[in-house]
């Protein structure tokens, strides 16, 4: 009986024309799912929209497999810029020109309405690609950004506004205790709040693989260092010959500074600290500051005992990270028009404002002026300012994942060794490792292209 029941329920819930959207299980995706009914109402005909939410690695595998095998299960894929190179160069997804052609009635002067409203630098970072990825040649947009992310400074307002701490800090440093605008003050504040008698810590830093890299690039790039010698370009640009600057003087100094923060880190277990655990740690109320992903800031506030205790500002220095993801329309989608319409309707300003109120970091600039958004989302200004001054910090070429893993493991080794670490030697070794991995990856790409011909 149970078996029959089990199968009949499956049949009854069966097929109806619709689209499937896959994304990471985070507030950005939840917000779209929560507004599903409003988006559906905009369609001229009834439609079903299913959301599939998974942990990042699982989402990547499922989306990749669907694209590679051409099964067209997922119509819209909410993916990050590390996938951009593979999706574009393997022709897995529609590019924007194709979308404009198919949905011509929604365009004005050959463009969609939202195009002029986007954070341009974010779009170019997460959604543009040049198939011939070396410098030169025409770049074109492949994905429409679904979120404009960054990493910003989150600080504990209760600690910062406590008179005891304000006076003591001034006493010691002769400057006001406020969110730091330069890295030197950042370190002073971190040191100041690391106090075993008060059981407070200056920082909580992320040490898990991938997470450690994302945090480190903030330090590295804002001090003139980085991974590749391609200043003022995009993460997806470059090729196997692009010079690496991992062992440059600037990167070395930035890494030394990064490692010098270790005594002020309050994570119980640094190497397992990821974005989600960092949020939990900040909620405990005894950490002064952290550098946090903007797309988890909503979670920080959502169930916090006292959401008002958190303040937000761009990271110290004068540059911030550009990150985020794009809507990718599967070119084997069985309902490509409906999939594209989903993107269009989601990108309407009214919907974007509502999405931002539910955790999305909107890629539409005007949403950040919405009074309700400004009132209810306390990180609006910090996010906006970060995106305005954002630059490339994250690698997004075909070798990006190999680079991220190599640098993550390198940083973990350095953190573990502490003061005894041979920082320059380790950076140089990582550089060689990246060169070797990069060479193999590009060799493989060439091999596969030849095989296709």
């Amino acid at each position: 009986m149970l078996i029959l029941l089990f199968f009949s329920i499956s049949i009854l819930t069966g097929c109806k024309k619709g689209i499937t959207v896959i994304g990471e299980d985070i507030p950005s995706t939840h917000s779209m799912e929560n507004l599903k009914d409003e988006i559906i109402a905009k369609y001229p005909k009834p439609i079903r929209i299913d959301f599939v939410k998974d942990p990042y690695e699982v989402m990547v595998r499922k989306a990749n497999q669907d694209l590679a095998s051409g099964t067209g299960v997922y119509d819209v894929i909410l993916q990050y810029n590390t996938a951009l190179a593979s999706y574009a160069s393997n022709n897995y997804v529609y590019n924007l020109s194709e979308l404009r052609e198919k949905l011509g009635e929604f365009t004005t002067d050959g463009k969609f309405k939202f195009e002029d409203k986007l954070f341009k630098k974010t779009w170019e970072e997460v959604g543009y690609y040049r198939k011939n990825s070396s410098f030169g040649g025409r770049e074109e947009p492949f994905g429409v950004p679904f979120s404009a992310n960054t990493m910003f400074l989150v600080y504990n307002k209760n600690l910062f506004s406590d008179e005891k701490y304000k006076n003591a800090f001034y006493e010691e440093h002769k400057i006001e205790l406020k969110p730091p605008e330069d890295w030197s003050t950042f370190k002073k504040i971190a040191k100041f709040f690391t106090n075993s008698s008060d059981k407070t810590w200056g920082l909580v830093m992320q040490g898990g693989v991938y997470w450690i890299y994302y945090e480190w690039v903030n330090f590295s790039f804002s001090r003139g260092g980085g991974v590749m010698d391609k200043r003022k370009t995009r993460g997806w640009q470059g090729d196997e010959n692009t010079p690496l600057i991992l062992s440059s003087k600037e990167t070395l100094e930035a890494t030394k500074f990064y490692l010098s923060l270790k005594p002020y880190d309050g994570s119980d277990d640094f190497f397992s600290m990821d974005a989600g655990k960092q949020v939990e740690k900040m909620r405990k109320g005894n950490i002064a500051m952290c550098i946090m992903w903007s797309d988890v800031a909503y979670n920080l506030l959502k169930n916090a005992f006292d959401p008002g205790m958190f303040g937000f500002s761009p990271i110290p220095g004068d540059v911030s990270m550009l990150a985020g993801g794009s809507f990718y329309i599967n070119n084997k989608s069985k309902n490509p028009i409906e999939a594209m319409q989903f993107v269009l309707f989601t990108m309407e300003e009214e919907i974007q404002s509502k999405l931002m109120l539910q955790g999305l970091c909107s890629p539409i600039r005007s949403v950040y002026k919405n009074p309700e958004v400004r009132e209810k989302i306390p990180y609006t200004d910090a996010l906006f300012d970060s995106l305005e001054r954002g630059v490339y910090m994250l690698e997004a070429g075909p070798e990006s994942d190999a680079i991220i893993v190599t640098i993550s493991e390198m940083l973990q080794k350095l953190w573990r060794k502490g003061e005894d670490a041979n920082i320059l030697g380790t950076l140089e070794s990582a550089e060689e490792d990246i060169k070797s991995k990069r060479r193999r990856i590009y060799e493989q790409i060439r091999k596969l292209k030849l095989a296709d011909k």
């Binding site: 499956s10 095998s69 979670n299 893993v405 080794k413």
Partner: protein, 531 residues
């Protein structure tokens, strides 16, 4: 098969069907070997992860079996059924599954500072202790359970003839437990070699930190290669997964040989390996051992539960959906396995009466499928189920994938418990031309009723906790286990939501164990009274 009778050939059909389905399932692995230049194990630094995994597996499996057997010998001396009922708690860590354990570890209120730097020995020791906690107690319970069915008359005969405890171990307890030891060795090798979730969620795997085991390394290879394209990345994972069958197979074989041959060596050299201390241990020390064992299960759970209660929010709807899919699946699989096991036992009365050189190949072949890394199995699932994209066919594919994943464990357990059925009993009833259903009643149903219930418990726990294939299939019901995994990692982490998933999970498991405890207690006492 040409030397087998018609009935024996037919009896093999259930196993052959499953083997056929398993072979189909892993076809993508064979396809990945078309270009061997893709595989650079040393250059990709797989050797460090592999060596670490092998070392961990050998040591942990050894301790799990040793702890299980000797712990059972100690607890064998407790005859009070009122106390024995508490032994069911030993099953709790294994039944709650890897993801729940990892989630609970994540919620520990403190973290040992010496572990933060991930020292080699310290890290492997902690991971080994977690594995021992999860499976060592399960093994202890199974060994103890096995000892409950020892012929008391024979034991009394040995005692009255002044056989020392060591001699009774070598002549009675070990021979009766040896087959179980082999079975648990295979389980232990597979569980330990492919340990993945607990490390990923709790300590986070990393090639720089002694926490990257071979399963994690394969996932890393995929991640690094996906920039080329998805097919290429999947091919490398599938290829490496195929290659890794070899070390797992070899390790299992070594353990089996060690237990079969080594156990004999130990029992022959009783004077060197003296177990009399187990009999001489004062009863109060045994009760202390029991109390500490139970407390080691309850205290971490209670301590962590205390931290979960403030966050609990009801989510019972998800549980109902899970039960709707998992209950019929596990019931059907259990029934299929029991029937297959009975048919095989009846048609191979001599071959399947013990683990032996002749029967070992059959057992190992059944397990080869499970010697493929979970990541490889999940990619096979991904590759294949694009052929099953209609909603109904996706559900069928999920069902079949669960069946073939768990079949090796269940069938080998069933074949093992059916060793109790003697060849002459079968031949006697066959000569009398007894009907099939009567044979089942006489030889199997009453004798193994409790074992079959346990089998169902195992099938249920396995399907509930399965996170390898379920999470990657395009069809997905809201698996509690997968949701729990999501809520414990990365940007999706949520203390509230994971707490609301763990608590009902634990409550259901404890209720099941209480029922199981009363059932076993009643059955064992009745069995002893009848003897």
């Amino acid at each position: 098969m040409s030397n087998l009778s018609f009935r024996q050939n037919v009896a093999l059909w259930p196993i052959l069907l499953i083997l056929f389905l398993q072979l189909l399932y892993v076809l993508p692995i064979f396809g990945s070997f078309s270009d061997l230049s893709l595989f650079n194990f040393i250059e990709d630094n797989g050797h460090n992860s592999l060596l670490r995994t092998i070392l961990f597996t050998i040591i942990t499996t050894f301790f799990q079996i040793a702890f299980g057997f000797f712990g059972a010998l100690l607890l064998y001396r407790i005859k009070s059924t009122k106390i024995q009922i508490f032994f069911v708690l030993f099953l709790l860590p294994a039944l709650i599954g890897n993801v729940t354990i990892a989630s609970l570890l994540n919620k520990m209120p403190w973290f040992p500072s010496w572990l933060e730097s991930r020292p080699f020995l310290g890290t492997l020791t902690v991971l080994g202790l977690i594995q021992l906690w999860q499976y060592g107690f399960l093994f202890l319970y199974l060994f103890w359970f096995r000892l409950q069915f020892i012929d008391e008359k024979f034991e009394n005969f040995l005692k009255s003839n002044n056989f020392s405890f060591s001699e009774r171990v070598s002549h009675l307890f070990w021979p009766q437990s040896k087959n179980l030891g082999v079975l648990l060795a295979i389980f232990g090798v597979i569980f330990n070699f492919y340990e993945q979730s607990k490390i990923s969620i709790f300590l986070k795997s990393s090639g720089a930190l002694n926490t990257e085991f071979i399963s994690h390394w394969i996932s890393k290879i995929y991640q690094q290669n996906q920039g080329v394209n998805a097919s290429f990345a999947a091919k490398t994972v599938l290829g490496y997964s195929g290659i890794l069958i070899i070390p797992t197979f070899v390790l299992s074989f070594i353990f089996i040989l060690t237990i079969l041959r080594g156990g004999n060596f130990v029992t022959k050299k009783v004077s060197i390996f003296n177990f009399n201390f187990l009999e001489k241990t004062p009863k109060f020390l045994i009760y202390i051992f029991l109390s500490l064992s139970i407390l080691s299960i309850i205290i971490p759970l209670t301590f962590t539960l205390k931290n979960l209660f403030p966050f609990y929010q009801a989510s019972l709807k998800i549980y109902f959906e899970n039960i709707l899919y998992i209950l019929p699946t596990s019931l059907f699989i259990t029934f299929f396995v029991i029937l297959s096991g009975i048919i095989l036992r009846l048609n191979f009365p001599r071959l399947l009466q013990r683990f032996s050189v002749q029967s070992m190949p059959l057992f190992l072949i059944l397990f080869i499928f499970r010697m493929i890394p979970p990541t490889g199995l999940s990619f096979c699932g991904l590759e294949l189920h694009r052929l099953f994209l209609g909603k109904l066919s996706m559900i069928i594919f999920w069902f079949i994938s669960q069946a073939i994943l768990i079949f090796p464990f269940l069938i080998i357990f069933v074949l093992f418990i059916h060793f109790e059925v003697k060849e002459n009993e079968i031949k006697f009833l066959q000569q009398l031309r007894t009907k099939f259903n009567e044979i089942i009643g006489l030889l199997f149903r009453r004798r193994f009723f409790l074992h079959y219930i346990f089998l169902f418990l195992f099938a249920w726990a396995f399907t509930w906790n399965e996170d390898t294939v379920t999470e990657v299939l395009f069809f997905k019901f809201n698996s509690v286990n997968i949701l729990l995994k999501t809520k414990n990692m990365g940007k999706g982490l949520s203390m509230n939501e994971s707490s609301s998933l763990i608590l009902p999970n634990l409550i259901i498991t404890v209720l099941i164990l209480i029922l199981w405890g009363f059932l076993t207690n009643k059955y064992i006492s009745r069995g002893k009274d009848n003897r």
